[in-house]
Amino acid sequence: MSTAAPLVHARNLTKRFDAFTAVDAIDFDVQPAESFGFLGPNGAGKTSTMRMIACSSPLSDGELRVIGMDPRTEARQIKARLGVVPQIDNLDTELTVRENLEMYARYFDIPSDVARTRADELLEFVQLDERATDKVEPLSGGMKRRLTIARALINEPDLVILDEPTTGLDPQARHLLWDRLYRLKQRGATLIITTHYMDEAEQLCDRLVVMDKAHIVAEGSPRELIDRYSTREVLELRLADGVRAALNGKLDGLADRVEDLPDRVLLYTDDGERTLDELNRRAIPVEGTLVRRSSLEDVFLHLTGRSLVD
Protein backbone atom coordinates (compact mmCIF):
# COMPACT_ATOMS: atom_id res chain seq x y z
CA MET A 1 0.00 0.00 0.00
CA SER A 2 2.76 2.43 0.86
CA THR A 3 4.49 1.86 -2.48
CA ALA A 4 1.62 3.11 -4.63
CA ALA A 5 1.31 6.85 -5.18
CA PRO A 6 -1.28 8.31 -2.81
CA LEU A 7 -4.64 9.16 -4.33
CA VAL A 8 -4.79 12.37 -2.33
CA HIS A 9 -1.65 14.11 -1.17
CA ALA A 10 -1.91 17.25 0.93
CA ARG A 11 0.89 19.32 2.44
CA ASN A 12 0.35 22.56 4.30
CA LEU A 13 -3.16 22.58 2.89
CA THR A 14 -4.79 25.83 3.96
CA LYS A 15 -8.20 27.43 3.50
CA ARG A 16 -8.88 30.99 4.52
CA PHE A 17 -12.16 32.90 4.31
CA ASP A 18 -11.01 36.52 4.45
CA ALA A 19 -9.12 36.76 7.74
CA PHE A 20 -10.56 33.51 9.14
CA THR A 21 -8.54 30.32 8.73
CA ALA A 22 -10.83 27.30 8.36
CA VAL A 23 -8.09 24.80 7.52
CA ASP A 24 -4.64 25.55 8.84
CA ALA A 25 -1.70 23.92 7.06
CA ILE A 26 -2.76 20.29 7.34
CA ASP A 27 -0.85 17.29 5.92
CA PHE A 28 -2.35 13.94 4.99
CA ASP A 29 -2.20 11.20 2.37
CA VAL A 30 -4.99 8.93 1.25
CA GLN A 31 -3.86 5.65 -0.30
CA PRO A 32 -5.68 3.85 -3.11
CA ALA A 33 -8.42 1.47 -1.95
CA GLU A 34 -8.35 2.96 1.52
CA SER A 35 -11.26 4.31 3.53
CA PHE A 36 -10.07 7.48 5.12
CA GLY A 37 -12.04 9.37 7.74
CA PHE A 38 -12.17 12.95 8.94
CA LEU A 39 -13.60 13.36 12.43
CA GLY A 40 -14.03 16.60 14.23
CA PRO A 41 -16.51 18.83 16.04
CA ASN A 42 -18.68 21.39 14.23
CA GLY A 43 -16.59 23.99 12.46
CA ALA A 44 -13.36 21.98 12.63
CA GLY A 45 -12.78 22.44 8.89
CA LYS A 46 -13.86 19.03 7.55
CA THR A 47 -16.21 20.30 4.86
CA SER A 48 -13.74 22.98 3.83
CA THR A 49 -11.14 20.25 3.32
CA MET A 50 -13.57 18.03 1.37
CA ARG A 51 -14.48 20.91 -0.89
CA MET A 52 -10.87 21.59 -1.72
CA ILE A 53 -10.30 17.95 -2.59
CA ALA A 54 -13.44 17.99 -4.74
CA CYS A 55 -12.11 21.01 -6.64
CA SER A 56 -15.17 23.01 -5.56
CA SER A 57 -13.19 25.44 -3.48
CA PRO A 58 -9.79 26.88 -4.39
CA LEU A 59 -7.00 26.31 -1.89
CA SER A 60 -5.64 29.38 -0.19
CA ASP A 61 -2.21 27.89 0.32
CA GLY A 62 -0.21 24.70 0.33
CA GLU A 63 0.02 21.74 -1.98
CA LEU A 64 -2.72 19.36 -3.04
CA ARG A 65 -2.66 16.52 -5.54
CA VAL A 66 -5.81 14.55 -6.27
CA ILE A 67 -5.44 11.39 -8.38
CA GLY A 68 -2.01 12.68 -9.29
CA MET A 69 -3.34 15.98 -10.64
CA ASP A 70 -3.39 19.59 -9.53
CA PRO A 71 -6.85 20.99 -8.64
CA ARG A 72 -5.71 24.46 -9.62
CA THR A 73 -5.10 23.57 -13.25
CA GLU A 74 -6.74 20.19 -13.85
CA ALA A 75 -10.03 20.49 -12.00
CA ARG A 76 -12.07 19.26 -14.94
CA GLN A 77 -10.05 16.08 -15.34
CA ILE A 78 -10.03 15.43 -11.60
CA LYS A 79 -13.77 15.99 -11.23
CA ALA A 80 -14.42 13.52 -14.05
CA ARG A 81 -13.05 10.81 -11.76
CA LEU A 82 -14.61 11.84 -8.45
CA GLY A 83 -17.91 11.03 -6.81
CA VAL A 84 -19.11 13.66 -4.37
CA VAL A 85 -21.76 13.35 -1.67
CA PRO A 86 -22.11 16.84 -0.19
CA GLN A 87 -23.05 17.52 3.42
CA ILE A 88 -26.33 19.12 2.32
CA ASP A 89 -28.28 17.31 -0.40
CA ASN A 90 -28.34 19.09 -3.73
CA LEU A 91 -30.51 16.78 -5.78
CA ASP A 92 -32.47 18.33 -8.62
CA THR A 93 -35.91 18.54 -7.04
CA GLU A 94 -37.54 19.42 -10.35
CA LEU A 95 -36.57 16.08 -11.84
CA THR A 96 -37.52 12.51 -11.01
CA VAL A 97 -35.28 10.03 -9.23
CA ARG A 98 -34.15 8.41 -12.45
CA GLU A 99 -33.77 11.72 -14.28
CA ASN A 100 -31.48 12.88 -11.50
CA LEU A 101 -29.09 10.06 -12.31
CA GLU A 102 -29.37 10.32 -16.08
CA MET A 103 -29.00 14.09 -16.14
CA TYR A 104 -25.98 13.89 -13.87
CA ALA A 105 -24.50 11.28 -16.21
CA ARG A 106 -24.87 13.79 -19.04
CA TYR A 107 -22.72 16.28 -17.17
CA PHE A 108 -20.01 13.60 -17.29
CA ASP A 109 -20.57 13.07 -21.02
CA ILE A 110 -21.63 9.49 -20.42
CA PRO A 111 -23.52 8.10 -23.46
CA SER A 112 -27.22 7.80 -22.69
CA ASP A 113 -27.49 4.01 -23.15
CA VAL A 114 -24.63 3.50 -20.70
CA ALA A 115 -26.24 6.00 -18.33
CA ARG A 116 -29.53 4.10 -18.46
CA THR A 117 -27.90 0.79 -17.59
CA ARG A 118 -25.91 2.33 -14.76
CA ALA A 119 -28.94 4.14 -13.42
CA ASP A 120 -30.81 0.81 -13.28
CA GLU A 121 -27.97 -0.86 -11.43
CA LEU A 122 -27.46 1.99 -9.02
CA LEU A 123 -31.13 2.38 -8.20
CA GLU A 124 -31.19 -1.27 -7.32
CA PHE A 125 -27.96 -0.94 -5.35
CA VAL A 126 -29.46 1.77 -3.13
CA GLN A 127 -32.90 0.13 -3.11
CA LEU A 128 -34.71 2.91 -4.88
CA ASP A 129 -35.70 1.03 -8.02
CA GLU A 130 -39.35 1.18 -7.08
CA ARG A 131 -39.22 4.97 -6.76
CA ALA A 132 -37.48 5.53 -10.11
CA THR A 133 -40.27 7.62 -11.66
CA ASP A 134 -41.15 9.55 -8.50
CA LYS A 135 -40.30 13.17 -7.90
CA VAL A 136 -37.39 13.73 -5.50
CA GLU A 137 -39.08 16.18 -3.16
CA PRO A 138 -41.42 13.77 -1.31
CA LEU A 139 -38.66 11.20 -0.68
CA SER A 140 -37.58 10.69 2.91
CA GLY A 141 -34.24 12.02 4.10
CA GLY A 142 -32.71 8.56 3.99
CA MET A 143 -33.92 7.95 0.44
CA LYS A 144 -32.54 11.30 -0.71
CA ARG A 145 -29.21 10.44 0.84
CA ARG A 146 -29.17 7.09 -0.92
CA LEU A 147 -30.03 8.76 -4.21
CA THR A 148 -27.21 11.24 -3.66
CA ILE A 149 -24.83 8.34 -3.15
CA ALA A 150 -26.11 6.58 -6.26
CA ARG A 151 -25.64 9.81 -8.19
CA ALA A 152 -22.05 10.10 -6.95
CA LEU A 153 -21.33 6.65 -8.41
CA ILE A 154 -22.76 7.26 -11.88
CA ASN A 155 -19.32 7.97 -13.38
CA GLU A 156 -17.70 4.93 -11.69
CA PRO A 157 -15.39 7.22 -9.72
CA ASP A 158 -11.90 6.32 -8.51
CA LEU A 159 -12.44 8.34 -5.37
CA VAL A 160 -15.70 8.93 -3.51
CA ILE A 161 -15.93 11.86 -1.10
CA LEU A 162 -18.74 11.57 1.43
CA ASP A 163 -19.43 14.50 3.75
CA GLU A 164 -21.49 13.21 6.66
CA PRO A 165 -23.31 10.59 4.59
CA THR A 166 -25.60 9.42 7.40
CA THR A 167 -26.26 12.51 9.51
CA GLY A 168 -29.92 12.84 10.36
CA LEU A 169 -30.88 9.31 9.35
CA ASP A 170 -32.63 6.77 11.52
CA PRO A 171 -30.61 3.71 12.63
CA GLN A 172 -32.09 1.46 9.98
CA ALA A 173 -31.29 3.85 7.15
CA ARG A 174 -27.77 4.29 8.51
CA HIS A 175 -27.17 0.57 8.59
CA LEU A 176 -28.34 0.23 5.01
CA LEU A 177 -25.98 3.00 3.96
CA TRP A 178 -23.09 1.51 5.89
CA ASP A 179 -23.69 -1.78 4.16
CA ARG A 180 -23.64 -0.07 0.76
CA LEU A 181 -20.48 1.84 1.57
CA TYR A 182 -18.88 -1.33 2.87
CA ARG A 183 -19.66 -3.06 -0.42
CA LEU A 184 -18.14 -0.20 -2.35
CA LYS A 185 -15.03 -0.57 -0.26
CA GLN A 186 -14.97 -4.30 -0.98
CA ARG A 187 -14.99 -3.51 -4.68
CA GLY A 188 -11.80 -1.51 -4.20
CA ALA A 189 -13.20 2.02 -4.15
CA THR A 190 -11.29 4.67 -2.26
CA LEU A 191 -13.51 6.54 0.17
CA ILE A 192 -13.04 9.74 2.11
CA ILE A 193 -15.69 10.10 4.79
CA THR A 194 -16.43 12.78 7.33
CA THR A 195 -18.66 11.89 10.22
CA HIS A 196 -19.73 12.78 13.70
CA TYR A 197 -20.50 9.18 14.52
CA MET A 198 -17.76 7.18 16.16
CA ASP A 199 -19.37 3.85 15.39
CA GLU A 200 -19.52 4.86 11.74
CA ALA A 201 -15.84 5.73 11.75
CA GLU A 202 -14.93 2.47 13.49
CA GLN A 203 -17.00 0.47 11.02
CA LEU A 204 -15.95 2.16 7.82
CA CYS A 205 -12.54 3.76 8.21
CA ASP A 206 -9.20 2.03 7.81
CA ARG A 207 -7.49 5.18 8.87
CA LEU A 208 -8.67 8.53 10.09
CA VAL A 209 -7.62 11.94 11.26
CA VAL A 210 -9.20 13.96 14.01
CA MET A 211 -9.54 17.65 13.20
CA ASP A 212 -10.08 20.38 15.70
CA LYS A 213 -10.04 24.14 15.12
CA ALA A 214 -8.59 23.87 11.61
CA HIS A 215 -5.78 21.50 12.64
CA ILE A 216 -5.24 17.76 12.49
CA VAL A 217 -4.71 16.68 16.08
CA ALA A 218 -4.30 12.93 15.60
CA GLU A 219 -3.97 10.34 12.88
CA GLY A 220 -4.08 6.55 12.78
CA SER A 221 -6.33 3.52 12.52
CA PRO A 222 -9.26 3.45 14.95
CA ARG A 223 -7.42 0.77 16.99
CA GLU A 224 -4.16 2.72 17.08
CA LEU A 225 -5.91 5.87 18.17
CA ILE A 226 -7.68 4.09 21.00
CA ASP A 227 -4.43 2.49 22.15
CA ARG A 228 -2.57 5.75 21.97
CA TYR A 229 -5.07 8.15 23.46
CA SER A 230 -7.20 6.14 25.80
CA THR A 231 -6.96 3.46 28.46
CA ARG A 232 -8.22 -0.05 27.90
CA GLU A 233 -11.45 0.44 29.81
CA VAL A 234 -13.76 3.17 30.97
CA LEU A 235 -15.89 3.33 34.07
CA GLU A 236 -18.92 5.55 33.54
CA LEU A 237 -20.64 7.02 36.58
CA ARG A 238 -23.96 8.74 36.92
CA LEU A 239 -24.17 10.88 40.01
CA ALA A 240 -26.97 12.81 41.68
CA ASP A 241 -26.46 16.59 41.41
CA GLY A 242 -25.81 17.08 45.12
CA VAL A 243 -23.26 14.29 45.22
CA ARG A 244 -21.49 15.70 42.25
CA ALA A 245 -21.02 19.09 43.82
CA ALA A 246 -19.72 17.56 47.05
CA LEU A 247 -17.22 15.23 45.38
CA ASN A 248 -14.28 17.59 45.67
CA GLY A 249 -11.29 15.37 45.18
CA LYS A 250 -12.82 12.08 46.27
CA LEU A 251 -12.17 10.59 42.82
CA ASP A 252 -8.46 11.51 42.94
CA GLY A 253 -6.12 8.67 42.18
CA LEU A 254 -8.90 6.34 41.10
CA ALA A 255 -8.13 6.52 37.39
CA ASP A 256 -5.52 7.66 34.88
CA ARG A 257 -7.80 10.43 33.79
CA VAL A 258 -11.22 11.75 34.73
CA GLU A 259 -13.57 13.34 32.23
CA ASP A 260 -16.35 15.41 33.74
CA LEU A 261 -19.27 15.53 31.27
CA PRO A 262 -22.58 17.29 31.78
CA ASP A 263 -24.50 14.03 32.20
CA ARG A 264 -21.86 11.66 33.56
CA VAL A 265 -18.30 11.25 34.80
CA LEU A 266 -15.85 9.01 32.91
CA LEU A 267 -12.96 7.32 34.69
CA TYR A 268 -10.22 6.08 32.36
CA THR A 269 -8.54 2.99 33.72
CA ASP A 270 -7.03 -0.27 32.53
CA ASP A 271 -9.24 -2.36 34.81
CA GLY A 272 -12.75 -1.03 35.17
CA GLU A 273 -13.91 -3.60 37.71
CA ARG A 274 -11.04 -2.86 40.08
CA THR A 275 -11.71 0.84 39.86
CA LEU A 276 -15.35 0.14 40.61
CA ASP A 277 -14.37 -1.84 43.74
CA GLU A 278 -12.18 1.00 44.87
CA LEU A 279 -15.01 3.44 44.25
CA ASN A 280 -17.31 1.33 46.42
CA ARG A 281 -14.70 1.19 49.17
CA ARG A 282 -14.59 5.00 49.19
CA ALA A 283 -18.35 4.93 49.69
CA ILE A 284 -19.20 7.42 46.97
CA PRO A 285 -22.95 7.20 46.31
CA VAL A 286 -23.54 6.65 42.59
CA GLU A 287 -26.82 6.32 40.74
CA GLY A 288 -25.47 4.05 38.06
CA THR A 289 -22.20 2.59 36.77
CA LEU A 290 -21.06 1.02 33.54
CA VAL A 291 -17.73 -0.60 32.70
CA ARG A 292 -16.95 -0.67 28.99
CA ARG A 293 -14.06 -0.81 26.57
CA SER A 294 -12.60 2.43 25.30
CA SER A 295 -13.93 3.59 21.96
CA LEU A 296 -13.13 6.30 19.46
CA GLU A 297 -15.60 8.47 21.32
CA ASP A 298 -13.16 8.56 24.22
CA VAL A 299 -10.27 9.41 21.94
CA PHE A 300 -12.31 12.23 20.54
CA LEU A 301 -13.25 13.50 23.95
CA HIS A 302 -9.64 13.44 25.04
CA LEU A 303 -8.35 15.20 21.95
CA THR A 304 -10.96 17.86 21.50
CA GLY A 305 -12.39 18.20 24.98
CA ARG A 306 -15.82 17.89 23.41
CA SER A 307 -18.39 15.24 23.05
CA LEU A 308 -19.10 14.50 19.42
CA VAL A 309 -22.77 14.75 18.77
CA ASP A 310 -24.07 17.97 20.16
Binding site: F17, A54, S56, S57, P58, A75, R76, Q77, K79, A80, L82, V84, P86, I88, D89, N90, L91, D92, T93, E94, L95, E99, M103, Y104, R106, Y107, F108, D109, N155
Partner: protein, 256 residues
Amino acid sequence: MLASAAQVFIRNWLVYKRIWHRSIFFGFLQPFMFLSAMGIGMGTLLARNPNAFGGMSYLEFLGPGLLAASAMQVATFESTYPIMNKIMWGRNYEAMLSTPLGTRHILIGEMGWISFRLATIATVFMVVLWFMGVTASPLAVLAIPVAVLSGVGFSAGLFAFTTTQENDLGFSWIFRFVINPLFLFSGTFFPLSQLPSALVALAWLTPLFHAVELIRGLTLGRLDPVAAPIHLAYLLVFAAAGIWLADRGLKRRMEK
Protein backbone atom coordinates in the same frame (compact mmCIF):
# COMPACT_ATOMS: atom_id res chain seq x y z
CA MET B 1 -17.08 23.88 -24.06
CA LEU B 2 -20.35 23.97 -25.98
CA ALA B 3 -21.06 20.27 -25.47
CA SER B 4 -20.89 20.74 -21.70
CA ALA B 5 -22.88 23.97 -21.79
CA ALA B 6 -25.52 22.17 -23.86
CA GLN B 7 -26.18 19.84 -20.93
CA VAL B 8 -27.22 22.79 -18.80
CA PHE B 9 -29.62 23.76 -21.59
CA ILE B 10 -30.96 20.21 -21.78
CA ARG B 11 -31.54 20.13 -18.04
CA ASN B 12 -33.69 23.25 -18.32
CA TRP B 13 -35.54 21.79 -21.28
CA LEU B 14 -36.27 18.62 -19.29
CA VAL B 15 -37.88 20.69 -16.55
CA TYR B 16 -39.57 23.15 -18.90
CA LYS B 17 -41.31 20.62 -21.08
CA ARG B 18 -43.25 19.56 -18.01
CA ILE B 19 -44.16 23.02 -16.73
CA TRP B 20 -44.22 25.15 -19.88
CA HIS B 21 -47.91 25.89 -19.43
CA ARG B 22 -47.10 27.82 -16.24
CA SER B 23 -45.08 30.39 -18.17
CA ILE B 24 -47.75 31.02 -20.78
CA PHE B 25 -49.29 33.86 -18.86
CA PHE B 26 -46.23 36.07 -18.57
CA GLY B 27 -44.67 34.99 -21.82
CA PHE B 28 -47.69 35.21 -24.09
CA LEU B 29 -51.06 36.07 -22.63
CA GLN B 30 -50.03 39.16 -20.73
CA PRO B 31 -48.45 40.93 -23.72
CA PHE B 32 -51.46 40.09 -25.87
CA MET B 33 -53.79 41.44 -23.25
CA PHE B 34 -51.83 44.69 -23.30
CA LEU B 35 -51.78 44.62 -27.06
CA SER B 36 -55.51 44.26 -27.45
CA ALA B 37 -56.57 46.45 -24.53
CA MET B 38 -54.28 49.32 -25.30
CA GLY B 39 -53.47 48.86 -28.95
CA ILE B 40 -57.01 48.37 -30.12
CA GLY B 41 -59.00 49.90 -27.26
CA MET B 42 -56.93 53.00 -26.65
CA GLY B 43 -55.90 53.08 -30.28
CA THR B 44 -59.45 53.85 -31.34
CA LEU B 45 -59.56 56.86 -29.06
CA LEU B 46 -56.13 58.03 -30.08
CA ALA B 47 -56.95 57.78 -33.76
CA ARG B 48 -58.56 61.21 -33.49
CA ASN B 49 -55.09 62.68 -33.42
CA PRO B 50 -53.39 61.01 -36.40
CA ASN B 51 -50.04 62.72 -35.99
CA ALA B 52 -49.49 61.89 -32.34
CA PHE B 53 -47.46 58.77 -33.24
CA GLY B 54 -45.69 60.08 -36.28
CA GLY B 55 -48.26 58.80 -38.70
CA MET B 56 -48.45 55.31 -37.16
CA SER B 57 -51.59 53.86 -35.67
CA TYR B 58 -51.35 53.33 -31.95
CA LEU B 59 -51.30 49.56 -32.48
CA GLU B 60 -48.35 49.94 -34.84
CA PHE B 61 -46.60 52.10 -32.34
CA LEU B 62 -47.30 49.90 -29.36
CA GLY B 63 -46.88 46.39 -30.80
CA PRO B 64 -43.13 46.37 -31.48
CA GLY B 65 -42.44 48.34 -28.29
CA LEU B 66 -44.33 45.78 -26.30
CA LEU B 67 -42.24 43.02 -27.84
CA ALA B 68 -39.09 44.71 -26.55
CA ALA B 69 -40.63 45.30 -23.12
CA SER B 70 -41.86 41.70 -22.83
CA ALA B 71 -38.44 40.37 -23.74
CA MET B 72 -37.02 42.49 -20.93
CA GLN B 73 -39.59 41.27 -18.42
CA VAL B 74 -39.20 37.59 -19.19
CA ALA B 75 -35.42 37.87 -19.25
CA THR B 76 -35.18 39.70 -15.94
CA PHE B 77 -37.60 37.44 -14.16
CA GLU B 78 -35.81 34.31 -15.39
CA SER B 79 -32.51 35.60 -14.04
CA THR B 80 -33.70 36.44 -10.55
CA TYR B 81 -35.64 33.87 -8.52
CA PRO B 82 -34.86 30.82 -10.69
CA ILE B 83 -31.15 31.60 -10.70
CA MET B 84 -31.13 32.36 -6.98
CA ASN B 85 -32.72 28.97 -6.50
CA LYS B 86 -29.98 27.27 -8.47
CA ILE B 87 -27.29 29.14 -6.54
CA MET B 88 -28.63 28.97 -3.00
CA TRP B 89 -31.92 27.27 -2.25
CA GLY B 90 -31.78 24.23 -4.52
CA ARG B 91 -27.99 24.21 -4.88
CA ASN B 92 -28.23 22.99 -8.47
CA TYR B 93 -25.04 24.77 -9.49
CA GLU B 94 -23.13 23.23 -6.60
CA ALA B 95 -24.18 19.81 -7.91
CA MET B 96 -23.21 20.68 -11.47
CA LEU B 97 -19.86 22.01 -10.34
CA SER B 98 -18.91 18.72 -8.74
CA THR B 99 -19.02 17.24 -12.25
CA PRO B 100 -16.63 18.28 -15.02
CA LEU B 101 -18.76 21.38 -15.63
CA GLY B 102 -17.32 24.76 -14.68
CA THR B 103 -19.05 28.07 -13.99
CA ARG B 104 -18.55 29.18 -17.57
CA HIS B 105 -20.36 26.15 -18.96
CA ILE B 106 -23.23 26.95 -16.64
CA LEU B 107 -23.42 30.56 -17.74
CA ILE B 108 -23.28 29.72 -21.44
CA GLY B 109 -25.95 27.06 -20.96
CA GLU B 110 -28.23 29.44 -19.10
CA MET B 111 -27.76 32.23 -21.63
CA GLY B 112 -28.44 29.76 -24.43
CA TRP B 113 -31.58 28.69 -22.65
CA ILE B 114 -32.89 32.21 -22.12
CA SER B 115 -32.11 32.98 -25.78
CA PHE B 116 -34.24 30.04 -26.79
CA ARG B 117 -37.10 31.16 -24.55
CA LEU B 118 -36.86 34.71 -25.89
CA ALA B 119 -36.72 33.50 -29.47
CA THR B 120 -39.93 31.49 -29.09
CA ILE B 121 -41.73 34.36 -27.40
CA ALA B 122 -40.53 36.90 -29.96
CA THR B 123 -41.48 34.64 -32.86
CA VAL B 124 -45.01 34.08 -31.60
CA PHE B 125 -45.29 37.79 -30.94
CA MET B 126 -44.16 38.64 -34.46
CA VAL B 127 -46.63 36.24 -35.99
CA VAL B 128 -49.44 37.89 -34.03
CA LEU B 129 -48.30 41.35 -35.11
CA TRP B 130 -48.23 40.14 -38.67
CA PHE B 131 -51.78 38.84 -38.34
CA MET B 132 -52.86 42.17 -36.92
CA GLY B 133 -51.32 43.85 -39.93
CA VAL B 134 -48.69 45.68 -37.93
CA THR B 135 -45.58 44.36 -39.69
CA ALA B 136 -44.79 46.46 -42.72
CA SER B 137 -41.38 45.23 -43.77
CA PRO B 138 -39.56 41.95 -44.40
CA LEU B 139 -36.95 43.35 -42.01
CA ALA B 140 -39.46 42.58 -39.26
CA VAL B 141 -37.90 39.10 -39.08
CA LEU B 142 -34.73 40.76 -37.81
CA ALA B 143 -36.65 42.18 -34.88
CA ILE B 144 -36.63 38.66 -33.41
CA PRO B 145 -32.85 38.42 -32.96
CA VAL B 146 -32.80 41.99 -31.69
CA ALA B 147 -35.39 41.09 -29.06
CA VAL B 148 -33.24 38.10 -28.11
CA LEU B 149 -30.10 40.24 -27.96
CA SER B 150 -31.66 42.86 -25.71
CA GLY B 151 -33.25 40.15 -23.56
CA VAL B 152 -29.89 38.44 -23.12
CA GLY B 153 -28.45 41.78 -22.04
CA PHE B 154 -31.07 42.12 -19.32
CA SER B 155 -30.80 38.49 -18.38
CA ALA B 156 -27.03 38.60 -18.03
CA GLY B 157 -27.13 41.85 -16.10
CA LEU B 158 -29.68 40.52 -13.66
CA PHE B 159 -27.79 37.24 -13.44
CA ALA B 160 -24.71 39.21 -12.39
CA PHE B 161 -26.80 41.05 -9.79
CA THR B 162 -28.27 37.80 -8.49
CA THR B 163 -24.81 36.32 -7.90
CA THR B 164 -24.15 39.11 -5.41
CA GLN B 165 -27.35 38.62 -3.40
CA GLU B 166 -27.80 36.65 -0.19
CA ASN B 167 -31.62 36.68 -0.27
CA ASP B 168 -34.43 37.73 -2.60
CA LEU B 169 -35.11 41.15 -1.04
CA GLY B 170 -33.03 42.93 -3.64
CA PHE B 171 -35.21 41.64 -6.47
CA SER B 172 -38.33 43.57 -5.55
CA TRP B 173 -36.15 46.64 -5.29
CA ILE B 174 -34.85 46.04 -8.81
CA PHE B 175 -38.31 45.47 -10.23
CA ARG B 176 -39.70 48.53 -8.54
CA PHE B 177 -36.94 51.00 -9.24
CA VAL B 178 -35.32 49.72 -12.42
CA ILE B 179 -37.55 47.43 -14.45
CA ASN B 180 -40.89 49.19 -13.97
CA PRO B 181 -39.57 52.70 -14.74
CA LEU B 182 -37.86 51.33 -17.85
CA PHE B 183 -41.09 49.62 -18.83
CA LEU B 184 -43.02 52.87 -18.55
CA PHE B 185 -40.52 55.45 -19.77
CA SER B 186 -38.65 53.84 -22.66
CA GLY B 187 -41.04 54.81 -25.41
CA THR B 188 -43.09 51.64 -25.34
CA PHE B 189 -46.46 53.26 -24.61
CA PHE B 190 -45.98 56.83 -25.76
CA PRO B 191 -43.38 58.73 -27.80
CA LEU B 192 -40.55 60.10 -25.69
CA SER B 193 -41.08 63.51 -27.29
CA GLN B 194 -43.87 63.92 -24.74
CA LEU B 195 -41.27 63.97 -21.96
CA PRO B 196 -39.05 66.83 -20.76
CA SER B 197 -35.77 66.82 -22.64
CA ALA B 198 -33.76 65.79 -19.56
CA LEU B 199 -35.75 62.57 -19.38
CA VAL B 200 -35.28 61.99 -23.09
CA ALA B 201 -31.54 62.27 -22.62
CA LEU B 202 -31.79 59.84 -19.73
CA ALA B 203 -33.73 57.38 -21.89
CA TRP B 204 -30.89 57.38 -24.42
CA LEU B 205 -28.68 55.98 -21.67
CA THR B 206 -30.99 53.07 -20.89
CA PRO B 207 -31.14 49.77 -22.78
CA LEU B 208 -34.86 49.27 -23.24
CA PHE B 209 -35.17 52.51 -25.18
CA HIS B 210 -32.65 51.29 -27.76
CA ALA B 211 -34.38 47.93 -28.02
CA VAL B 212 -37.78 49.56 -28.50
CA GLU B 213 -36.51 51.94 -31.17
CA LEU B 214 -34.65 49.29 -33.12
CA ILE B 215 -37.43 46.70 -32.98
CA ARG B 216 -40.02 49.29 -33.96
CA GLY B 217 -37.87 50.49 -36.84
CA LEU B 218 -37.36 46.96 -38.15
CA THR B 219 -40.97 45.91 -37.77
CA LEU B 220 -42.44 48.94 -39.45
CA GLY B 221 -39.67 49.44 -42.00
CA ARG B 222 -38.88 52.88 -40.61
CA LEU B 223 -35.24 52.50 -39.62
CA ASP B 224 -33.37 55.71 -38.99
CA PRO B 225 -30.04 55.21 -40.77
CA VAL B 226 -28.13 57.27 -38.21
CA ALA B 227 -29.76 56.09 -35.01
CA ALA B 228 -30.16 52.39 -35.87
CA PRO B 229 -26.44 51.51 -35.77
CA ILE B 230 -26.17 53.33 -32.45
CA HIS B 231 -29.07 51.31 -31.03
CA LEU B 232 -27.51 48.07 -32.21
CA ALA B 233 -24.06 48.97 -30.91
CA TYR B 234 -25.54 49.92 -27.55
CA LEU B 235 -27.36 46.58 -27.27
CA LEU B 236 -24.26 44.62 -28.26
CA VAL B 237 -22.16 46.38 -25.65
CA PHE B 238 -24.95 45.99 -23.10
CA ALA B 239 -25.14 42.23 -23.62
CA ALA B 240 -21.36 41.80 -23.68
CA ALA B 241 -20.94 43.77 -20.47
CA GLY B 242 -23.72 41.80 -18.79
CA ILE B 243 -22.18 38.48 -19.76
CA TRP B 244 -18.76 39.58 -18.60
CA LEU B 245 -20.15 40.64 -15.22
CA ALA B 246 -22.25 37.49 -14.88
CA ASP B 247 -19.23 35.31 -15.65
CA ARG B 248 -17.17 37.03 -12.99
CA GLY B 249 -20.03 37.07 -10.53
CA LEU B 250 -20.86 33.40 -10.84
CA LYS B 251 -17.23 32.38 -10.48
CA ARG B 252 -16.85 34.53 -7.40
CA ARG B 253 -20.04 33.27 -5.88
CA MET B 254 -19.51 29.57 -6.47
CA GLU B 255 -15.76 29.18 -6.05
CA LYS B 256 -15.41 30.11 -2.42
